[in-house]
């Protein structure tokens, strides 16, 4: 199993939830992937790229053929695609690996120039997921049913998380997140990581940690299309805006 890589150019995205009827990520991510392959970036999908916890395999099968075709462009450009498993797609782990398009890993340690970056989905630092895994799974499925009734509930929940954590997060972490994620990033940074990139929480942002390392979260493409760009040792969080030349192409 590969968990350590070296690269000079890598983009990281997370939480597309393709296959979930409420995910509108596909129409944004396809042009992004074409751009990244053309710019000769490696790609890392940092968990929950596909949705099996709240959707059926049939939905995924309907949703992903174009997505996988575009992933093939990275191979043709001589670049790699890495897929880190999250909590909504872990059941697909072997299936994805056997497909042969991508390298599947539980996390990635990236060496880029002199910089060490840890990329991990982050669900194992979610206190609710760790303490009550069965309840978490049932509630995830139940949430899937609620979203069928009204997809808008999801955005309402995200707004509630931001509002409820605003005062605390201004000091200690990314707005919307519980402090456990920043603490996990801090712990990882003590093992010599200069930057830590998580997904899972759907709250994009970045924060400098007390020891000078950086914590990034790439959020969710169901909300705003953020990606982490790792280029010759420099790490940044960017919002994807489709270049005009790509928009014009058929």
């Amino acid at each position: 199993m590969i968990t350590s890589i070296q690269t000079d150019r890598l983009v990281v995205i997370s939480d597309l939830h393709l296959g979930n009827p409420f995910s509108n990520a596909k129409k944004k991510v396809i042009p992004f992937l074409k751009w990244a392959a053309a710019e000769k970036f490696d790609l890392c999908i940092n968990g929950d790229g596909l949705e099996i916890a709240q959707a059926s395999f049939a939905k995924i099968a309907f949703e992903v053929p174009e997505f996988f075709r575009v992933l093939g462009e990275f191979k043709r450009a001589g670049r790699e695609v890495y897929y880190i498993t999250g909590n909504h797609d872990i059941a697909l782990e072997h299936f994805l690996e056997d497909w042969g398009v991508m390298k599947v890993a539980p996390f990635l340690n990236v060496q880029s120039g002199a910089t060490r970056v840890r990329i991990e989905h982050g669900h194992i630092y979610d206190p609710f997921f760790v303490k009550y895994p069965v309840l978490y799974e049932h509630l995830t499925q139940f949430a899937g049913l609620l979203l069928k009734v009204n997809p808008g509930l999801y955005k309402l929940w995200i707004s509630f998380e931001k509002w409820s954590s605003y005062r605390r997060a201004k000091k200690s972490g990314i707005v919307g997140e519980r402090p456990h994620f920043r603490e996990a990033a801090e712990e990882l940074s003590r093992r010599g990581f200069d930057s830590i990139v998580f997904g899972h929480t759907h709250h994009a942002g970045h924060k400098q940690l007390d020891n000078g390392s950086y914590y990034f979260n790439t959020g969710s493409w169901m909300l705003t299309p953020f990606y982490a760009k790792i280029e010759n040792g420099s790490v940044s969080l960017e919002e994807w805006k489709e270049p005009a030349r790509l928009r014009r192409s058929p």
Binding site: I124, R190, G192
Partner: protein, 156 residues
């Protein structure tokens, strides 16, 4: 001269070493585990004729695991290469570290598995080069594979 930097938890602290400074000597009885935050560490082992460099560990690598996990004296010596900062885990802090940072256990197992394979490959290479008899080889491999054998190399 090494310098203790900070103590975040009771069983874990940072320490800085200058280039060439000894972190521990072969045969020392310490039980701490070391994770490299900055710099590199050279591992040296005494042989009958001279001291040899076994490996160099870099940022993010860990060492000192044999003493921690098996309560053995230090198998080899460790020296700082360049200015080196280490996160030092005391035995009592090891499980707490895994609790806070579970992927550390995964990475540790992965590195230990890699080191076992490397040792086996080196051994097989030596066996092939010196054409050691098959019986002797099997006895050796059983021992390396973790099987408990008696003095005659037979499983107990």
């Amino acid at each position: 001269m090494s310098m203790k930097l900070e103590t975040r938890f009771q069983h874990e602290y940072l320490e800085e070493f200058e280039d060439g400074e000894c972190i521990f000597e072969e045969g020392d009885t310490g039980r701490d585990l070391f994770i490299i935050q900055l710099g590199s560490v050279q591992i040296r082992k005494k042989t009958t004729s001279k001291e040899i460099e076994m490996t160099i560990f870099n940022k993010g690598d860990f060492f000192g695991d044999m003493a921690l996990l098996q309560s053995l004296p230090r198998y080899a010596a460790a020296y700082a290469v360049g200015k080196t900062r280490l996160l030092i885990l005391k035995p009592a802090g090891f499980l707490l570290k895994i609790r806070r940072d579970p992927t550390f256990a995964f990475e540790m197992l992965q590195q230990l598995s890699y080191r076992v394979k490397l040792s086996n490959d080196r051994l097989l290479e030596l066996i092939n080069r010196h054409q050691i008899p098959v019986d002797e080889v099997q006895k050796l491999l059983k021992t390396i594979g973790g099987g408990h054998t008696n003095d005659e190399g037979k499983p107990q």
